[in-house]
Symmetry: C2
Subunit: 238 residues, 2 copies
């Protein structure tokens, strides 16, 4: 007998269905799902099969399960969770919180690299958000945030975004961010960098390249952050 191609386990089909329902807004963040028994009955599968799908989603931070209470759609965004793992401090250890500085947004064609990183469904337009953030009132952090234009229609009319970008994604555009992938390297400042955060050309900077993924494991954001680390300690826990 030939190998059965296209075989897809039942629990994965249940997983796909539940992810779709959450992404469509049928179950909203913070809301409680039907019980395992009810879902099993509706979907005509056993409770164990439902459980396996929900367990997978729990391990991906899409759901939270609380014994004795129920299963809930997670409200946690990576921005909130990564605050525990990323941070700035002075050399003596006192923590520093960056303030918001300049911010601008424009629509343009994406570069080849950006379109390779983002899952754009063929569209070539992107929004680019450029901003600087301040440490002790001095510009020290440069962010360049790129998202595909198609799913974010009207993003330029949102006004200042500040730190609540992922919350905006969820509330205005129904995009559930669930994970990020960060690459850290040490680079030297370009002429453009030097102008924005007042350092010499060639000064050492930390660069963090972040890809952000939604509930469908689609890359919805590509972000480059550059940090002047003179007198600032940046820490990332891996």
């Amino acid at each position: 007998m030939s190998t059965t191609l296209g075989f897809r386990p039942l629990y994965q089909q249940v997983y796909d269905l539940m992810v779709t329902k959450i992404s469509d807004g049928e179950y909203r963040p913070g809301e409680m799902l039907p019980s395992e028994q009810q879902l099993a009955g509706q979907l005509k599968v056993s409770q164990g099969t439902v459980r396996k799908a929900l367990d997978t989603m729990t391990s991906e931070n899409i759901l939270e399960r609380r014994q004795g209470k129920g299963t809930f759609v997670s409200e946690q965004t990576p921005e909130r969770s990564t605050l525990r793992f990323f941070g700035f401090s002075r050399p003596d250890g006192t923590p520093l919180t960056p303030q918001n500085g300049e911010e601008s947004i424009r629509k343009r064609k994406g570069t080849a690299k950006e379109l390779r990183q983002l899952d754009t469904d063929g569209s070539e337009d992107v929004y680019e958000i450029s901003r600087t953030r301040l440490i002790e009132n001095k510009p020290a952090i440069i962010d360049k945030i790129v998202v595909s234009a198609k799913p974010f229609q009207g993003l330029q009319e949102q006004g200042k975004i500040g730190t609540a970008l992922y919350t905006l994604f969820q509330e205005k555009y129904g995009i559930h961010v669930i994970s990020t992938n960060d690459e850290i390297s040490a680079i030297v400042a370009s002429k453009a960098d030097a102008k924005k955060i007042s350092v010499e050309v060639g000064a050492p900077l930390l660069m963090i390249q972040r890809s952000t993924f939604d509930i469908h494991k689609k890359c919805v954001e590509f972000r480059i952050t550059k940090v002047n680390t003179q007198g600032i300690i940046y820490t990332a826990r891996i």
Copy 2:
């Protein structure tokens, strides 16, 4: 009825037992475990309970499961796996491989910080391995590796360790390294640093603080790596 304290699920007991057997050398890296049915019979539990324990161990990279073949004790060490995620390259993208330079080892009392990091079972002696590594024949990387002395008797007689430290842990001392936790920060060079890798005092360095954990989730190594990033790009994928 009062709450049952000290309740421990069966599958966790199976997990503990299997971890102990591997750590005791009853099953060795690369070896195949008995089948789920056999284990279930031996331990007088159902196959599903064994499965849950083995699945957990698989997700922790202790085991590898191959459908149709069997379940095997993993041979992969983090050193090998992290090579995919950490690395050095030139600004133009060509990868660089560091060479081994100076290396020395000595036994001494651990500092308070080191004893807090390491799980030492009360012993206060540690081995400190200091080494430099070279990029293009110039010293660029400083490593300070600290391990508890007790489980590593005779480590100073091992001669040059080079890059095979975790393999040595496993083969000579039966310690199975399964995970690491890294913290990255940007610092400035101290006088001692400056001497070892010929940079100015105050030059910017990347510092990676790594805690290494064995199969029992015990911290068996604490390592501080400092990298001169002038002309070198260091990348870590999180």
